[in-house]
Amino acid sequence: MPDPTSQQIDEFYNAVGKRVKRARAQANLTQMDLSQRTGLTRSSIANLEAGRQRVQAHILAIIASNLGIDLSDLFVQTFPTLSGHSLDQNHSEDLERFSDTALDFVNAGLKVSASSEKL
């Protein structure tokens, strides 16, 4: 598996930040409330939620326990576009099941995903 680009890492922390924000809003807490509960500054919570900060694992654990959620709820289960931009060989035996138009469709979609990354 190739190393992620820094943009992919940014996207990862962005998604983690969004999850923190949603979970905080669902718990009906302001950034200030969460700051008081966790001892983190309000601005570091704001930075983390906006994905501007590559948050450390123990900070997420503190936040999760204060919000009464599982730590795993804050993690994104995927690392987008790590394994290349078209179907790889692992699927090749599998691919015989599909028609040519179906495969064109999938590969076109994966190409779109690769080009939107560069924006």
């Binding site: 994104v76 995927t78 790590l82 469709f105 999938v106």
Partner: protein
Amino acid sequence: MNVRSDVEQRAQAYLKRWGIVEPPVDVTELVRLEGIELVFSRSKGMESGFALSEGFRRVIGVNSLEAPRRQRFTIGHELGHLDMHNERGLTVDQSVRVFKRDEVSSMASDSQEIEANAFAAALLMPQSFLHQIVPEVLKTVSGGRDQLISALAKRFDVSVQAMGYRLINLGMLSP
């Protein structure tokens, strides 16, 4: 019966996790929050969408030539595959399916398609939302059942057909 309520609960878990409490359900945002890549591409064939699960990577593809409300349903359907049928790797869905009765695996595949459709319906048209909104809409709609279905379809941003099936499946409408 149990299978169906399991699918309903799986769909509800997503709404709960992201605090979605009213229609229309923003499936695009929901899928992105889940860390799933969402891509749109054109297909000249009958393909409506695909779901790819490869290691830690999950991708949903949507045929952008289809109507927007169909695309929303497709996203829900593909999320259902990723949630429930993770072992499949790649799934490509056709908007019209030809049933190949001679294939040993076709029965399993058929039931997975039915499950994915049920998941999409439960995600886009949750029973609790409908119970709340149907009485509201009934007050404002003049006309018969077609007008009701169409007003609800608009409110939930789904096709009239999808809404019709959902109401019948929930026993809220006679077939």
